[in-house]
């Protein structure tokens, strides 16, 4: 994979952003990033630019940025996954803070067979002290027109309101990788909630994939919104651990997503059944509930 280096602020030929989605970060951090970028020199703010940024690190940062993007877009029918990193730079300073400047392509998460549409994003990602929950500034080209996206979300919403709850102890996908078409909306919504968690947990050295929904606890549609309580198994690189996370989200089309979660951090000694056995898992980490 070849990385092409271009100046940060130079316009890229062919780069059209007619209706790009702009997502905000805390202003202070944004200024900090811009300050460091504008100066351009490696000696400013103690930032040391990586002469040969590892493609692995760049991909991980891009993934974290995309998790954040998906969470903020709150659109389960229009989730995007990383395709390729086109261009990337990384810096680190003495305080062990990591900064990334990235351009990457994305694909539709739920692409139908043969439907291959590539999106493009640019992002700045900032990790404080090798810690998780990076600050992200990301803009992406629009893969689907807003009206269509809203309509798809609404279709998904209608479907979920029709589904009876709770689903009978299904793993999604099952052991053989199968997701029934009727359960697809659940998977997409679960992935949306997981995106929040995966963003929150990402560090420069840990990244995540969603492996499986291991259980669905509850499913309500109070007041119109979908209230979804489930457990997801995240696959953590590079430890290879499977992290069960209990997630509780509330979603209504075109509204911001509300998420609470609790991940089981340490693998417990062997038990035959699921992770919810025993004490009730207290949802302690709140976000924007």
């Amino acid at each position: 994979m070849q990385l092409r280096r271009q100046p940060l602020s130079a316009p890229r030929p062919g780069d059209t952003r007619p209706a790009a989605q702009r997502l905000a970060v805390p202003l202070l951090l944004l200024l900090a990033l811009q300050g460091a970028a504008a100066s351009g020199g490696p000696e400013d703010s103690g930032w040391l630019q990586d002469a040969e940024p590892s493609s692995r690190l760049l991909s991980q940062a891009a993934r974290a940025a995309l998790h954040f993007f998906n969470f903020r877009a709150a659109s389960p029918s229009a989730l995007q996954v990383l395709a390729n990193v086109l261009d990337g730079r990384s810096w680190v300073n003495q305080k062990k803070e990591y900064k990334f400047d990235l351009v990457f392509t994305t694909e539709f998460y739920s692409a139908e067979e043969g439907e291959k549409r590539l999106g493009k994003c640019s992002a700045q990602v900032f990790f404080r002290n090798e810690k998780p929950r990076p600050a992200v500034n990301v803009t992406c080209t629009q893969l689907v027109k807003k009206e269509r996206r809203q309509e798809e979300d609404y279709q998904l919403y209608k479907l979920m309101k029709q589904l009876k709850s709770p689903l009978n102890a299904v793993s999604i996908p099952d052991s053989h990788g199968y997701i029934a078409p009727s359960l697809r909306p659940i998977w997409d919504l679960a992935f949306l909630g997981s995106s929040y968690v995966m963003w929150q947990k990402s560090t420069p050295f840990l990244h995540y994939y969603m492996s499986q929904i291991s259980s669905v606890k509850q499913w309500k549609t109070n007041d119109d919104a979908i209230d979804f309580d489930y457990t997801v198994l995240l696959h953590e690189f590079s430890t290879q651990e499977i992290i069960p996370c209990r997630i509780h989200l509330v979603w209504y089309p075109s509204k911001p997503l509300k998420v609470k979660y609790h991940c089981q951090e340490r693998q417990t000694p062997e038990e035959a059944s699921g992770t919810e056995e025993g004490s009730a898992v207290a949802l302690t980490e709140l976000s924007n509930f």
Partner: protein, 410 residues
Amino acid sequence: MSLPQTPYKYSLTQPLYDWHPWNMKWILFFGALIGSGICDRETFSGHQVFRINIRNEDEISKLNRLVNSDNLKLDLWKSPSTLGHPADVLVPSFSLQEVKSFLEDHGLEYSVAIEDLQIHKEMDSIVKSYPHLVSAVKIGHSFENRLMYVLKFSTGKGRQRPAIWLNAGIHAREWISSATAIWTARKIACDYGRDLVITSILEKMDIFLLPVANPDGYVYTHTHNRLWRKTRSVNPRSTCIGADPNRNWDSHFGGVGTSNDPCSDTYHGLHAHSEVEVKSVADFITNHGDFKCLIDLHSYSQLVMYPYGYTTSRVPDADELDMVARNASKAMASLSGTQYQVGSVGSTVYTASGNTIDWAYDNGIKYAFSFELRDTGFYAFALPADQIIPTAQETWLGLKTIMEHVRNNI
């Protein structure tokens, strides 16, 4: 510019439960492949053995109804001679779902033969079909006493030749690795005498193929936990089970990228080769003394890698290995466009000490490669059945590329 009008993603008319063939295909796959004369055919004659508990007269009559139903084509292997003894029924692939539904609807207790027996059955079948080329080599037993079953492909008529080791299924949850290996086994056997490349390789070298390097873990992913990775050995001072067999090799053992916590998924084990599954392979290869190539199949991430894993520093043969790996990757992409990235383990995924190919390289096996097969994280370990054959087919092109280079350079 308006976007094309594709139908909405979510249909409101889908039933809640769909009968589907995917489960079947995975189960079928490990059944016997009918392919005589045509090496790439996709027909299966998979089957499973159901052991059904019979507790009363009523259940006997239910069983008879099931077995006698014409379209299901069931085969009663062992009829319940007395109440309380189970019946064994052979169920062909196309009837699996119906039989399960019937049993469940009528409250009949049953258990299904576990799939590792089916992989071994398939291996038996290959040996039987190609006796002049293929033989079974039993190199040891797993912790839970399952067979470590290797296929040897040789035209050497008993004389020792330089050899290639193909390793698969060392991590239990990476099912596509074992599936690819068993497909490859039949492909090698069938293509010998037909395909120039594999024929010329086998004229000079032997191939050893281990489809399930971690049988205990593999069974466990079927019976208990689909995402289990390690072996199933008992750790003396912990309730946690198993060690990561890909951190247990005697090469920078216990170094970076491993854990000394038995509960961790990268626990290196008590000492190098403490895991009997690893020791069996290591001892066999060492005693043989003339292995030139070792390829270790994993999933997922779509990568073709060479040593080292314990460091990001380059091995002396990095240039050559990188070139071979790139050629393999190119060959793999030529089939369906699947992209496999190339690099050393340490610089491509993460540092991982005590892994298989580091040990191989340090023990004189220059052509040591590790593959991460499909996909890149969408389905991850639970790759759907319709991707097995495409994955195996493209991987085959990569394997041939490497083996051909080895043959031409020893």
